[in-house]
């Protein structure tokens, strides 16, 4: 369980603001320890010693990027914020590329905090890729078999022959599944160099960090409004997110953003690791601790309390989520104030007041099969 142990150390803190957990012990019969404790208590702060700068690119659709490797790592390790642009979640592109181009093995193995975890993360991306290839191969073979079947029928083949082919197909599927699990164990790397790869190497022969960590708008708000982590004020951030002169802003421009933040904050503040759920057709995925530790068990859809969509919309999202064996939560946001007051609060930059004027209610949506609920 060595990996589990390093993961525990690596992801020790659920938030980028750390508690003061290194106070000396108090020894009741030793007054000196009291004084020392008090001294430590007063001198230590939760406040971060640095602020993380973000780069905001784009006009209408913005991307909030963190470029510094250390900062990228810090945000990932302390609450799993952001996604690497060329990775599934944790930004591992640079290390993968080093490995692929065989640079890492010789001299310039990159010196980051995550040195010890390189193999694991590599394995992840690599496995996904190999599984994908396997799937393609499987598909091709299946198509071939189907063609054979068609041919057979055209030539008036017998039922037995047909059965044989169908059996073959089933055999293939079993094979495929067996191979797939095999991949999880062994994995090999291919190191093809391509012309484009040269653009990745600077004059000193080092790899350029092409990948940035991208923050969701709501993550960025959380990291500046709720916790002082980013080097940008919430007012400035919001004016970039809604790039309009203040007097022209309408309720429609801000309501979605507010709604999404309300829900994001709601779950974050109960300890969930909240990540984008776009793959599953919903707003958020909820992880108990974070992606390295377990699957997300909940998918959250954000709705207005008075919103009603066509039934097909719910059922198709539910089908996707049910297929991945996760629970679908509909999180409804109810506005307690008239729209113009909300707009007023936004314009005056009073986000604390603004966010506390909404409340949330939750529904679990689950397919119900009568036959399975009879006793």
């Amino acid at each position: 369980m060595a990996k589990g142990h390093t993961a525990r150390l690596r992801y020790k803190y659920p938030l980028p603001i750390h508690p003061i957990d290194d106070l000396p012990d108090l020894i009741p019969q030793n007054p000196l320890s009291w004084a020392y404790w008090t001294y430590c208590y007063l001198t230590k702060v939760n406040y971060l010693k640095f602020r993380i700068p973000v780069e905001i690119i784009g006009q209408k659709y913005v991307h909030i990027l963190v470029r510094n490797s250390y900062h990228m790592q810090y945000l990932w390790e302390n609450g799993f914020f952001g996604t690497g642009q060329f990775s599934r979640s944790e930004p591992t592109w640079k290390n993968r590329t080093l490995e692929r181009l065989n640079i890492g093995l010789t001299n310039t193995r990159i010196n980051t905090l995550s040195n010890n975890t390189i193999p694991e993360t590599l394995q992840l991306e690599e496995i996904t890729k190999r599984r994908r290839m396997l799937r393609i191969e499987f598909k091709q073979q299946r198509e071939k078999l189907e063609k054979q079947l068609l041919q057979l029928r055209k030539n008036n083949g017998s039922i037995e022959e047909e059965k044989e082919l169908l059996e073959k197909e089933r055999e293939m599927l079993r094979d495929f599944k067996a191979k797939q699990s095999l991949i999880d164990i062994e994995h090999s790397f291919n190191n093809n160099e391509r012309l484009e790869d040269f653009e990745l190497i600077d004059t000193n022969g080092n790899i350029i960090e092409l990948e940035a960590l991208e923050l969701l708008p709501v993550e960025a708000i959380f990291l500046t409004f709720s916790l002082p982590v980013l080097n940008i004020s919430v007012q400035e951030l919001c004016s970039r997110l809604v790039p309009k002169p203040v007097q022209n802003i309408k309720y429609d421009d801000i309501q979605l953003l507010i709604r999404k933040y309300i829900v994001y904050h709601h779950y974050r503040s109960r300890g969930w690791c909240v990540r984008s759920g776009i793959k599953f057709g919903c707003e958020y995925l909820l992880y108990k601790r974070g992606p390295p530790f377990q699957h997300a068990e909940f998918c959250v859809l954000v709705l207005d309390a008075e919103e009603s969509q066509d039934y097909t919309w719910y059922s198709s999202i539910a089908r996707v989520i049910g297929g991945a064996r996760k629970s679908l939560v509909l999180c409804y946001v109810h506005n307690e104030l008239p729209e113009k007051n909300i707009l007023q609060l936004w314009k005056s930059g009073n986000f604390t007041e603004l966010f506390s004027k909404f409340n949330v209610g939750e529904i679990v949506y689950k397919r119900w099969v009568p036959g399975k609920n009879r006793d």
Binding site: G4, A7, Y13, P14, L15, I17, P19, I20, D21, L23, N46, E120, Q123, L124, T128, E146, L150, R153, K154, E162, K177, I262, H266, S269, R270, G271, W272, K279, L285, K288, P292, A296, E297, S308, D310, Y311, T312, S315, R319, G322, G323, A324, S327, F351, T352, E353, S356, F358, N359, V360, G361, E362, V364, K366, R367, W368, P370, G371, N373, R374
Partner: protein, 472 residues
């Protein structure tokens, strides 16, 4: 095994490959076995489904297979004639004015869960029960007419047998015909199904009669202290917490303390977790039911609000139709193609939740020896008292205990379950719930809609205490 490499599994495609539920249509309806069924043999097994092709390939072989499949299907339908031996037929007469049916000489198993008897021993069936039984062939539908003989000018009463087609034309509304579909669907699976607003029996309620005022008074006071929405009157706290001074002046020694600060910002709806929550919510609801829906009425003039249509009991042999206990489920029927209906909004769902009255099954997760007879009221009496007051006491008690028995056994097994498992169960199963039955041109599917409450559950990671430190 590492816990670290599970991320790739998030890919939805991975599970979809071998998901059995997802592709009902990958299976074929194989009517051949149904066709072969002997009508006399009730102990049939439902046939398995065969294999299908992926594409139309234009071959004779496929054409042949298709023809066979079609013939089997239509043969099965042709041979499946309604009605059984005439000797065992029970006649039921449609009463157009009442839109129900009367059975003068009732007999048969269906009487256990359907129909209302009068003093002469005749039984009255609701229209949907009538049609369902006629479709099954359990009863034969008739209607009587008074006609005048053109020769003798004498009035005479004749009875005519009705066809199923006749019966379908008697539906008064689309809603009624939708409800019939759902009723028949659940009945075929053995469920006991009653219209929620029917008053054919002594109704049982989870909620005490309103006049017993001592409890409700106390609850009202309790309510004024704790409102439905837990609005945190914490604006001062929040104003400081989210100011730049917070982390300069405060000293948080655990992550939990930071979370406690964070979670005070967004108010949330706290679902009723306990019996007391439910009771107090109910009495409060009764007091303020007029004002709370004003806003809604304005916005959905075009839509009929959905409401609870059916009470449903799991299949059981000891159901007492005169005094049924609390239902196991409550069903809301929703026709997705009806332009006057829509998927309920949250506010509409809340209205439905507040009108629920069934075995709130989640309560049995909390209370170990939950006996529903002690927690429900029949005719304004506590159900245990009510049951012991009527004659067939011994029988009744057996019937009422039976559904609880398996549950209490389960509970004993689950007692040592960890806090995390229990918490997960609460989050996933939620609290009050209803079944939304969706009708799509004759196809029926169910969705369970439950309240859940993430706001009341903290899940942040608490690192294990460092043992070395303690030793020192």
């Amino acid at each position: 095994m590492s816990t670290l490499d599970k991320d790739y599994e998030n890919d939805p495609t991975k599970d979809a490959l071998d998901d059995d539920e997802i592709d009902d249509d990958e299976l074929t309806q194989d009517w051949s076995k149904i066709a072969a069924l002997s009508k006399k043999n009730p102990n049939y097994t439902i046939p398995k489904r065969g294999e299908k092709d992926a594409v139309i390939d234009g071959t004779n072989a496929q054409e042949l297979l298709l023809n066979n499949a079609r013939n089997e299907m239509f043969e099965a339908l042709e041979n499946s004639v309604r009605g059984t031996m005439i000797k065992s037929q029970v006649k039921a007469y449609y009463l157009p004015l009442q839109h129900e049916a009367i059975v003068p000489h009732p007999k048969g198993n269906f009487l256990q869960s359907m129909g209302k008897a009068d003093k002469q021993g005749r039984v009255f069936l609701k229209f949907h029960e009538f049609l369902y039984l006629a479709e099954r062939g359990t009863i034969t539908p008739y209607q009587t007419f008074c006609i005048q003989d053109p020769d003798s000018l004498e009035e005479q009463t004749i009875e005519l047998q009705l066809s199923i087609q006749d019966l379908y034309s008697f539906f008064k509304s689309q809603d009624e015909s939708d409800n019939f579909l759902v009723f028949a669907y659940l009945k075929r699976l053995g469920f006991i199904v009653n219209l929620t607003d029917s008053n054919d029996c002594d109704t049982t309620s989870f909620f005490p009669p309103p006049k017993k005022s001592i409890l409700s008074n106390i609850l009202n006071i309790y309510n004024t202290i704790r409102s439905i929405f837990t609005f945190h009157k914490l604006s001062l706290f929040n104003a400081f917490f989210y100011s730049k001074w917070n982390f300069l002046f405060n000293r948080y020694t655990t992550s939990g303390q930071i979370y406690v600060g964070l979670k005070k910002l967004i108010p949330f709806f706290k679902a009723p977790h306990t019996r007391y929550d439910l009771l107090s919510l109910n009495s409060q609801h009764k007091l303020s039911s007029d004002t709370s829906h004003k806003k809604q009425k304005l916005s959905n003039i075009n839509f009929k609000p959905l409401k609870i249509t059916f009470d449903v009991w799991k299949p059981q042999s000891n159901y007492k139709k005169k005094v049924p206990g609390l239902p196991d489920y409550q069903v809301v029927v929703f026709n997705k193609n009806d332009p006057h209906q829509r998927f309920p909004t949250y506010l509409e769902m809340r209205k439905i939740f507040d009108s629920l009255d069934y075995k709130f099954e989640y309560l049995s997760e909390i209370t170990d020896d939950l006996s529903w007879n002690k927690y429900s009221y029949t005719n304004g009496m506590l159900r245990t008292a009510y049951l012991s007051s009527i004659k067939a006491k011994a029988q009744q008690q057996r019937s009422s205990q039976n559904p609880n028995n398996p549950k209490s056994k389960k509970k004993k097994n689950s007692r040592p379950t960890s806090q995390f498992v229990l918490q997960n169960r609460r989050l996933k199963n939620g609290y009050r719930s209803f079944l939304l039955c969706v009708i799509d041109s004759g196809i029926i599917s169910f969705v369970k809609i439950s309240e859940t409450d993430f706001g009341s559950e903290d899940v942040w990671y608490v690192p294990p205490k460092n043992i070395k430190k303690y030793n020192k």
